[in-house]
Structure formats: C-alpha cells, structure tokens
Subunit: 247 residues, 2 copies
C-alpha cells in the first residue's frame, strides 16, 4: 500500500481537485452515494471492514471527509462504528430484521392511499421505467442492480405520497432491507418478485389506494417470508464441522 504518492499531489495545485467538488459537502455527497450504493448492491458485504485510510486513498480525499461520510452512514444504520475498531458494514440482527419489516409494513402500506391520490402521469411513467429496468436486471442475472433498483423504487413511491419525512424514513428502511437480504436472503430467490411492482403501479394508476395497500402488504410479507431468519449460532464451532467432513 504504499505511500500514497499521488493523493498529496492534488492539493498542490490549489483547488485543483477532482470533480469540482463544491464547497459544502458537494464532493462528500458523491462519496456518500458511492459507498451507500456499494453497500446496497452487496458489493460491500455485511461485516466488511471499512478502513478510513483506504477509503481516503480511493476517493482522493483526506480521512476527515471519509469520517464525515462514515458517520452519516452509521446514523442510517448502514455501517456500524465500533469505538476503536473502526467502521464495518452493518450485519443486521434478527431483531433488527423483524423491526425493519414491521416498520415497512406499517408505513408503506399506510402511504399507498395518499400515493394513489397524488400520483401523476409522469410519476406512473417513471415508476414503470424503473420496474422495467428491474425486470431486465433480473433477467440478466444482475441481482445486485435489481436490488438497488428495488430499493429505489420503494423510496420513490414513498416520495410520491407527498410526505417527505415519511419518505426519508422509507428510504432508510429500504436500504436496510437490502442489507437484511444480504444476510438472510436465499440465493436465487430475490426479494421482490419482478411483477409485483408492476401490479402495484397499476393499482395506483387506477387510483385504488386500498388495493394498492393490500398488495403492498402481501408484497412485503412475501419478501419477509422468503428470508431464512434464524440466527446462526456459529460462534466458533465452525471448525469442527468443517474439519470433521474433511477428515
């Protein structure tokens, strides 16, 4: 790893620097999105360590900026900050998983009514486009992309209902759900069935909030049901099984 030879270079020429990052956290925001996306897409798996130095090196900023981003991610529960051990991608506990889905069930279903009333033609087209991309990603076996799109879809849906506070909350829940899928999901059985989202759009387009709500309920419950939620008791006994087989 070496000495970071080039990072220092950027500052030398003054404001030079990549991608014109503005003053505020403009540049930092890009880093935030970048890491956030990597986590949601499971390119960074739960438990993965996120060293500040390494990230600082990758993104060409100092640790200060990275710390800021990491802190934000920690507040959204996407990463866990252990006092002297640094940051790592959060590995949701069973309780957390249950809580998150319960919360989604409660909030997202309740928002369907408002969404059905407020949805516009533009919204519908946008959602359909997203659903289409998701189907394509699924068809191409790009599960990572599909998962991200699914989270975005739910977040966008929440925005349509007009309550920004709740929408922000749903966004967080959707991101965390992605982590939960990474830990407790079965391979081959992706969270959202591809046609579910289309059906949801249809109900909303028809202005039928009640049906949309019912469908959302089934949708979320089916995702939760597809998980293998049982805590892995592997503390250390791992080795015995592994080597017993071997020997």
């Amino acid at each position: 790893m070496s000495d970071s030879r080039q990072t220092a270079k950027t500052t030398s020429s003054g404001r030079g620097q990549v991608s014109g990052s503005g003053p505020g956290d403009n540049g930092l925001d890009a880093i935030y999105r970048s890491i956030s996306e990597a986590i949601i897409e499971h390119r960074l798996k739960p438990g993965a360590r996120l060293r500040e130095d390494a990230l600082a090196d990758v993104f060409g900023v100092s640790r200060t900026g990275i710390r800021k981003v990491l802190q934000r991610l920690a507040l959204e529960q996407l990463v866990t900050l252990t006092p002297r051990r640094g940051a790592s991608v959060t590995r949701p506990s069973v309780d957390e998983a249950r809580d998150v889905f319960e919360a989604r069930l409660l909030v997202e279903c309740a928002m369907m009514d408002a969404a059905a009333k407020r949805i516009t033609e533009e919204d519908i087209q946008e959602l359909q486009e997203m659903a289409k991309q998701e189907r394509e990603a699924l068809r191409n076996r790009e599960q990572r992309i599909a998962i991200k799109l699914s989270a975005t879809f739910h977040a966008r849906l929440a925005e349509i209902s007009g309550n920004r506070t709740l929408a922000g909350f749903v966004g967080q829940l959707a991101s965390r759900s992605s982590l939960i899928l990474a830990v407790y999901g079965n391979a081959g059985h992706l969270g959202c069935e591809s046609h579910d989202h289309d059906n949801l759009i249809d109900f909303l387009a028809a202005g039928d909030g009640a049906k949309a709500s019912d469908f959302m309920e089934r949708h979320l419950k089916s995702i939760e049901a597809s998980l293998s939620i049982f805590e892995e008791p592997e503390e250390t006994p791992d080795l015995w099984d592994i080597f017993a087989v071997d020997a």
Copy 2:
C-alpha cells in the same frame, strides 16, 4: 511522509489512565445531549446561530468534536447546516410541520396495539412518574421542562412497543415537534394537555390498544389544531414592526 514508525515510543509507561472521557464519542455524546436538550427546551430558539468556535469554547473541546455533534443534529433535522453559513437551529416550515404530525399520527397510533400488549407493571409506573413530573412542571409554569418531558414520554411509549426502529423514529419526530411548537405554538397553550398522558396510560394498562390508539389520535390532532400554522413572512422586517411601535 507517512512512515511514522517510531514516534510511538511514549506508550512505554503505559496505560495509564485518563480518567474522564472514554475513547469513543463518550464525551461527545454528552455534548450532543446537552445541545439537543437545549433545543428541545427552547433555550435555543429556532433560527439561533450555532457557531462552531463558540460551542467549542463552551464545551472545552475543539471544533472537530463540535462538527461531529452538529452533523448528527443536522441528520435528525434539529439543526440546519447551510454550506458556508454554518449551523442554526432548524426553523420548521409549514410543510414540515404538517408532515411531522401526519407521520406521528400514523406511526404512534399504530404502535399502541403492540404497546398495550407488551406493557409491564414497571413501564406503567415509569410512565406515571413521567406524567406526574410533567403535570408539576406545568403547574410551576416551567413550560420548557414540560415540553421536554412530553417528548420523552412519547419516545418512551414507543420503546415499549418493542420495535426499536420505529421507536427511534418516534423519538426524532417528538424532538422535531418540540421545534414546531416553538415556532407555531401559542404561548399559554402548551402542546400536550396534562391529563391526556394519564388517560393514555390507563388505556394501555387496561390492555385496550384500540382505545389507546383512538385517544392518541385525538391527542395528536388536538396538539396540531392548537398550532397557528401559517407562514410568517418575516424574513428580516422584524425591525420595522418593533420600531414602528416604539415611535
């Protein structure tokens, strides 16, 4: 330049101690609570500027720590971070106020069912104690204390229902409600009527989640109704009014 291999000689004598501040954000957390409480109690009013230097001075830490705290408060929407202008206590917009109460109505009512099922004798006593303190604060005209206790009460209630994720959300909403009261509330008409909380406890103690939910709905709606929600167009023209009266 990064090769700092030998500098760390000092560790020799050891782990000595450091009494105070723990490692992590132990000390910072206290600062966070301190500022947070000041905001909720309206000792810091919406719009108040929070200069990093000043806070660093007050709490005896450097700006670094203050920034960390400020960022966290910003993520919880208690303070607003304007790019080059620094931090100030958030002044909730009319839309925000509506969103927050809508969210509370949705979430808190829905949680009553679980709360009624899970509440224990200890919880009941704790809540009653809190309600009692709140009544006393109101009687003593200590509205600031009462507002804080009210927010804490609602947050604690949410915790009882057993879903930490939702409880955290309710905590945030309660804090923000305090800000909303500061901006749109009428003096003399505090948010929560003092006996409301007692009634709520009674319903929960009786295990009647439905009634508790209904009551919570009325409770929150009455608070919202007591607000004078119309946007004040005062951007800076403050002075004109003041001196017009004077002259």
